[in-house]
Structures are given as C-alpha cells and as structure tokens.
Amino acid sequence: MLDYQLLEKLCKADSPSGFEEEVREIVISEIKDYADKITVDNMGNVLVFRKGMKTPKKKLLLSAHMDEVGLIVTDIKSDGTLKFAEVGGINDTAVFAKQVKVGKNKISGVINAKPTHLLSADERKKVPSKDSLCIDIGAKDKEDAEKYVSLGDMVTFDSPYENKNGRIISKAIDDRFGCLVLIEMIKSELPYDMYFSFVVQEEIGLRGAKAAAYTINPDYAIVIEATTAADVPFAEDEKRVCLVGGGAVVSFMDRSTMYDKEFYQIARSANAKTQTKTMIAGGNDAGAIHCSRGGVRTIAVSVPCRYIHSSSSLASVDDMESVFEVVKYTAERILSNVE
C-alpha cells in the first residue's frame, strides 16, 4: 500500500501555482535520505536523480506537479474585503460560498454570497461569476485588512480531508497524488537509474515541466497525474470520460499530447486495472515534456478523480494502487528494452 498518511500531508499543504514552497519542503524531507542527487532549479522545480541496479542507455524522467489550483489577492476594497483572480482553471461554482485561507499566515476568510432571500428567481438558478465576488476576512476597512493581507497573497481552499472505505475526498489530489507516487518510487529499490521532477506551475500553463524537461534532457517520460472523471448520475456513456474505480487511466490522446503508441500498449498491459478515456479531454505536463528539445517519447498515467479543481475532489484508493503498479511496470519495461 502507498503511504496514505503522506498523501494526506501533501494534500493539506497549501501550494497553488507560484507558491509551491510547502509541498517542496515535504518532498525534499521525504526523499533526502534516498535520492542520489537533488537540485532545486531557478523556477522552484525539484530535480532528482536516483541510482538503480543498472544504468540504462536512455534517460527516463518521471514527473508530477506540486502546484494546485487556487486564488490570488488582486485588490483590497475600501470596505476591507478582497478581490481575487483565479490561479489555474477554477469554475465559478467551485469558488462560491467557500471557506478559504489567505496568505502565508493562513488567515481565515469566506467567499461572500448575497443572501438567497434577496435574489430574483433567475438569480437563484445561476452561480454568479467569480469576478463579482470578494473574500471577507472580517476586516473593518481597507486599513485594517492591510495589516494582515498584501496584494499577491495566495488563497487556498479550507476544506475537509477524509479517507474512508477506500475512497479519498480532499482538495489538491491533482497532483499531490502524483508527488506521492514519485516519492514512493524514489524510496524503493529501482531496477534502473531514473530521473524525477516535481514541477511547479502546471496549472497555469505547464511552465515548470518545460524547464525541467529541458534541464534533465530525457529520452522518455512518464507523467503521473489526476484526471477528470465525470461518472456522475446525470452523465452517460462516453461523456463520463473515465470511471472512478475503473483503474489507472492511460490515454492515447488528450488536448495537449498524442501519446507514444508503444508506451501506451506497455502501460495497458500492466498487471493492474487500467482504462482509457472515452473523450479527448484534459491535458497535463506531457504537453510540455513530449515536445522538449528534440522530442521526448511520453506517456501519462493518471488516477481518475471526480470534481477535480474544486475544494473537494474524490478518488479511489484502489485506482491509486493501480496507477503505482502501472508506473512501476511501465518504467521498468521501457528501460529493459534499451538495456
């Protein structure tokens, strides 16, 4: 079993894009006794080399991103409330009336909501645009708020974590789960030398992965991610994309990448439950890695996750175990071909 206590710690860390410090500290403290080389680059990516039993002719990179979606303070209004922008893709529905934490000191705040009693019938049926909302920290006025908050402060969800009967509900499973898989790989006995990157700023344009892939200069890459599952009661057939409980998701194509066909077959042949996506949806760091330098043969293995990019996403422990098995198997098979 993967270390789910560590996953809880990783998910509870507050690290939206550009504020990856908390997760980076956890990652480094977990791997420092196992990794052969750890570098933090100029963007904040953690680049790791881990020696295995053999040195293959080609370089394999395993990558996951440390950042999560969040908000950022853009203005302090005269009444002491805070205007904000999204960091990464967040729906209006995910923000409305949520509890949040603001800044390094994690000041408690709430996203305001005009009382339903005062709305028109039409207004009641639609979640308002996040541009019309603000964060209330209880400040009396702008001057009072400025004692606690600065422009550019990060804002993260204040939401529960629960691991019960084999399912996990939490914020930031995307992609702290990927970080967990990388950490577990680094802690294990590897059959071959491998490179790892814990990257920044995936949610705002695959930025960290681009730099990490350049620096490590791999031949092959495996991206470990969480991906959207839409298997809810009002979605049918192919529109569900993938299923929670359906196993590790290996896609042939998404919005940013055509995946390597041989690696796809290898991943699907692992001795673990796998599925593929039934829609061309989503995208991840593979989009930046596969076209790095002279090209990198790339595959992504993801845990299916409902309500991704919200304060409460949901994923299955069995699926997580499957992803780990598929990643281990695929990494070994890819490198054994080039021994």
């Binding site: 729906n91 949520k98 909501a113 005009k114 209880g138 400040a139 009072d144 939401s159 529960p160 019960k164």
Partner: protein, 337 residues
C-alpha cells in the same frame, strides 16, 4: 460566548431532527435552570418565579437548513431535496456530511467544465450526493429520510467574527444561553421561558406550538438578520458590530419594541433598525397571533451570507444582545402589561 456558540454549532439539528440539541442545552444551562422538551421537540428552559403573574418568553429557533435523503441509486449515489431555504448556488462542488448510522463525507455532484453548459440552471430536483462508497455500503449506512448538511468548520475571522454554517440560528440560541447565564444569580421579577424552537426553517412550527402551550404575556424573538454587505440594501440590513437589529413591523407590539429600544439606549447600544411593511419572516409572525394574540418583539443579530455554509456573525453583537435581553427581564418587561 465563543465557547457557547461552538458547542451549539453541531452538525445535527436539521429541521425535524432537533432532538440531539437537548443534550447540548442541558449541558449549558441544566445546572441552574429547568430544562424540558415538548411533544414537538421544542426545548423549554424555565427560570425565575414560576408563580409570578408576569410571564416573558424568549424564542430562538434551533433548527438549521440542510438536505434530506430521498433516494439511493444502483451506483450508491444519493438523491436529496432541500430542507428549508437552502441556497442552491452554494451546493455546487461542496463537501457535505450525510448524518446516517455513521456520518459520511460526500460531495455534491457537479459536471466538469467540458460537459457543463453556461446556461445550465440549478434545480432542487437534480441534487445528487457522491460519497464514493459502494451501493451496498451506502444502503447499509444510509436510510431514506436521513439528513445532510453542507460542511464547514468553525473559523474565527478578524474583529471577533466567526464563520460557520448554522449560525442561523445557533447564534440566537447562544444569545439565549448567555442571557440565562447572566440571570442565573440574579433576582428575576417574573417567570421566564427560554424556548429553543423546532422547524422554523420549514414552517415556523415550533414557535407557534410553544407560544400556545406557554401562553406568555409577552415574547421576544431572537433570530439573525441581514448584515450590510455587497448587494444587500441598507434599509434591509444592520452593520456587523452595531449590536443588534431591532425590527419594526405591523405584526409586532409597539410596547415591546419601544421597551427594547429604551433598554438598548440605556445600555448605550447603537442598534440598527429594520422596518418590515408586513410580517417579519421570523417566528414572531406565528407567536404574535397565537391564542388571543401575544405582544411580541423581534431582535436580530446581523449576519452575512445567510443560508450558506459561510454565514458570518460578530461575537460582540451576540454579547450585547444577550445583555439587552437580560436587562429586559430584570426590568420586568413591558411595565403594566
């Protein structure tokens, strides 16, 4: 006040399931006041001189809004409907707690962006809850009729404000408890009934029942009212920190309202006013027309984001309101009633 409020802000007590609140109220006031419950579940706390001619009733509803389980499908998803005026907009992507044999965390089902259309309308007929558990596990733990609440944690904001769900009206309940504490070693010149009433959010049921049974000379209702915030008109709201909002309405007794105003003035409370053209939308509407009519007043604690999981009130306002009520009792309520 904070500790009292924290104890009252439990998950349980969605309209129709208020019985669990009895233990909490007993723990808070049972040492110095008589606590009982009527057939509907209203909790009655009696203080003062039982044989006094004058009988004052304070009412705060203790139920909270929520959802109720109506169906479990073959994949274990739970269908639910609102209990009380829950704001459908707040349900999207929210964590909820199913109050079943074991409490289970769940999430309200939402469509991911690639499948949702911008003109999708929220509807109370399409609320599904995902616990992630198998259909067998769900059916084993959850029964039709179980209640569900939207999750939120008791969080302190700046300037003695707190944010959590169910402050409507656990804030009013906390004020009554504090009022009882303030009066416990004092001479009370009347009979005082503190009523923690059921099912306000669905039908104002409990207050009408208890007013009928208790037959008080006068009553004051303590609820939450709109606090000033973006989009809320000034005339319908009071400023957080003002102390309390005093209601003025045709259904309310001028004598009681004037008495409340006079006490507030003596205590140097600023207070805001809310004038209603008709009924108040609180238990005062039911109480004032109970039996042959009961003189009733209404005080509200300013609250932001009403009927959401991020309701906000000021602990200072609650302290002041408790003091106001205690003083009202010590002065014997409306003179010559």
């Amino acid at each position: 006040m904070k500790e009292i409020l924290k104890k009252l802000c439990i998950d349980k007590g969605v309209s129709g399931s208020e019985t669990e609140m009895l233990d909490v109220i007993r723990e808070l006031v049972g040492d110095f006041a008589e606590v009982s419950a009527d057939g509907m579940g209203d909790i009655l706390v009696t203080m003062g001189d039982k044989n006094a001619k004058k009988h004052i009733m304070f009412d705060a509803h203790m139920d909270r809004i929520g959802l109720i389980v109506t169906y479990i499908n073959e994949n274990g998803f739970i269908k639910a409907e609102p209990v009380g005026g829950i704001d459908l907009r707040t349900l999207q992507s929210s964590a909820v707690k199913v109050l079943a044999k074991e409490n289970i965390l769940g999430v309200i089902c939402t469509m991911p962006p690639h499948l949702s259309k911008n003109d999708d309308e929220l509807s109370k007929d399409n609320i599904w809850i995902d616990t992630g558990l198998s259909a067998d596990e769900v059916k084993n733990l959850v029964s039709l009729g179980d209640k569900i609440i939207v999750c939120s944690e008791f969080r302190e904001l700046l300037n003695h404000q707190v944010a959590v769900s169910a402050l409507d009206n656990r804030a009013g309940c906390a004020v009554l408890v504090k009022c009882a504490e303030l009066l416990k070693d004092k001479e009370i010149p009347c009979r005082l009934s503190l009523v923690f009433s059921v099912q306000e959010e669905t039908s104002e049921l409990g207050a009408g029942i208890s007013a009928y049974s208790l037959e008080p000379d006068e009553a004051v209702v303590i609820d939450v009212g709109f606090a000033k915030q973006d989009g809320v008109p000034d005339e319908k709201s009071g400023k957080i920190g003002c102390g309390a909002i005093i209601s003025i309405s045709p259904v309310l007794s001028k004598k009681v309202t004037d008495k409340i105003k006079a006490v507030a003035k003596r205590l140097d409370m600023e207070c805001d006013y809310e004038v209603c053209g008709g009924s108040t939308g609180t238990n005062a509407d039911k109480i004032s027309s109970s039996r042959g009519g009961i003189m009733t007043g209404c005080i509200s604690i300013p609250e932001k984001n009403m009927h959401t999981q991020v309701e906000v009130v000021s602990l200072d306002d609650m302290e002041k309101t408790a003091k106001l009520l205690a003083t009202y009792v010590q002065e014997g309520g409306v003179v010559n009633a």
